[in-house]
Amino acid sequence: MEKVIIVRYAEIHLKGKNRGYFEHIFCVNLEKALKGLRHELRRTSGRYLVAAFDEADAEEICTRISRVFGVHSYSKGYRVPNDLDGILEAALRICPASGTFKVDTHRADKRYPMTSPQLNAEIGARLLDAHPSLRVDVHTPEHVVYLDIREDGTALVFGSFEEGVGGMPVGTSSKGVLLISGGIDSPVAGYMMAKRGMEVEYLHFHSYPYTNEQARDKVIELARILSRYTGGEFVSTVKVTHIQEEIHKKCAAELNVTLLRRFMFRIAECVARKKGAKCLITGESLGQVASQTIEGITSSNAVVTLPVLRPLIGFDKEEIILRAKKIGTFETSVLPYEDCCTVFLPEFPAIKPKLSFIEEEEAKLDVDALVQEALDSLERFPLH
């Protein structure tokens, strides 16, 4: 009898000919997640088994598996020879000695001599023999003993299905640059794209000395929390102080944020191209703040050719907060440090800026030189 953790994957089974590619990346991601813990990862048809781990690490392994995109569900259980004695031995460990229970069998090996109902009845009867205070209840049992008869002469026996995060393995949907501000929304946006298999590069803009180092540390901490799900090794930071000062000095106050965002998008696109990323990701949600109107979005999109993914565009703040809490970024996000958007905030920002007016105002600036200067300030901070 061998203690195992059974990992089942989500959507990959929908894939046809390139399923092997998805499975390979999924496997690599699982290995990455389990790095540092003694284990063996085995692929069986339709499932992965984590085996040969230390009992003391079992919880940690489960926690890490629960954060890997592509995992549909996982179970702690036993792998045993598929004879009745072997199955019973494991079932006795899974099923408590009292209360109501049922046995639920799934046969992948259709040549197995007993049918699923027969196995349910037989193992159920033997459990009752061993523990007289157990009672059978097939409708609402307190405990379920799941039997999974595999095709290789073994059976998997376990007591529950734990839900995974679902989604696609990170790395199967190319790479995007996440504009991460330190607020609540952008980490959630990054999470959602990673959930669809996108590898995420983190890019943060700061306005030192108007913003402080603590704000930057906060972003690194957010990326660190996020990287448990999304992978990623670094946060890149770019200093936009001079850009903000120039805009403040020369352009219409109500366009401060609009113009800054156009710079950010330009810079992000340069960074994306350098890193082989194929899109930008932002945490914008329609109408949430003045710059997140469709006019604001149009004005930012106008300066880049890469697609800009905004997975939160239709979300309410409440919905975003709920997700941030679930991911574990919320508490860090609400630490009170200013990001560079709030530093030069005008009293009345333009809600529906006209592109022609924006371009007119922007013409007062040496855009290329400012972008280059900002790119030269790029620094990278390791997450681990």
Binding site: P209, Y210, N212, Q244, H248, K249, P336
Partner: protein
Amino acid sequence: MIYLDNAATTRPSDGALTRAKYFLTDCYYNPSALYHGGAEAARLISEARGFLLGQIADPALFSLVFTSCGSEADNQAIFSAARRGNAVTTLGEHSAVFESYKELKNRGVEPRFAPLHADGSVDVDALLALVDEKTTLVSVIHVSNETGAINDIAEIARRVKEKNPRTVFLSDGVQAFGKIPFRMTKDIDLYAVSAHKIGALKGTGALIRRKGYTALTPYIHGGGQENGLRSGTENVFGIACFLYAAQEKFATLSEDAKRLETCKERLWALLDKDLFMRISPASGSPYILTVSSQGRRGETLQRMLWDMGVAVGTGSACNSKKPHSRVLEACGYPASVLDGVLRISFCPSNTVEDAEAAAKAMNEAARAFGGV
């Protein structure tokens, strides 16, 4: 780096660290242990207690309890003394006192806050007007950590006791102890001090108590250390540092105060008055000069100055996560002034040259300020 944020914390004294090291690496024993090593550690604590107390009080009339910080001392004092009726304090207190007073409300005691003058000192008449026969505690900060204003606590305590002799009088002396000449009087029941503001370590503080005031209750229960008033194995190394740093500080207290007064006024004299306005009073602590560069954010200036090699504060460091100083707001300043607050605070190793260099850097930073 010219370090002028000494009201936040001071650089630990090399001399004190060297002397105290013995109690970290050699005499590391538990002071409660009944063998020689334990007794030696216990003697050090006793020596420290005697010395520290002796500097500002008559050891026959006062005792001293070591705590983990000034805030703990304040908390222990407040929650021991204010158990019913009302408790009076000022709007100029450190958060350790101010927030504890706010908590009193949840415990059924009415907190009352006396207003401040523009320089941060308390309006004494207004304070006394709040004291009545139901007042169980009055707390007045000795030296304002935000402006350096000095409250004459001996006189205030006398007048409080005159009005209600049963009222307990507490003062937070964290920015005064080892910095300005002072002796405890019979009207002051409790006095909180901290080690890391005078060249010792964070993690050590003390509460000085008039022996006649017996109602002090422990905040932490356990092994009965500190006469049952503060359980937990004593921070022997921290206390040793506190002792040796205090010996250095008190040996030159008056000369330091005089010299730093010169530094402070020199710095102020060199600041461009078009860029900075003074908040600190003329007669305040020589250790603190608070100014405001109106219209320019203090926090940003602070980082610009750091990059220029000068470390200064912006109001109270314990409070830097809130946008405006609660204390300076209570002094009546508008938002534009509050935004631009810088606190320059000295220690005896600072020189006039430091002050001059800092003033030059401050003028430069304020002039270079490009934003809001």
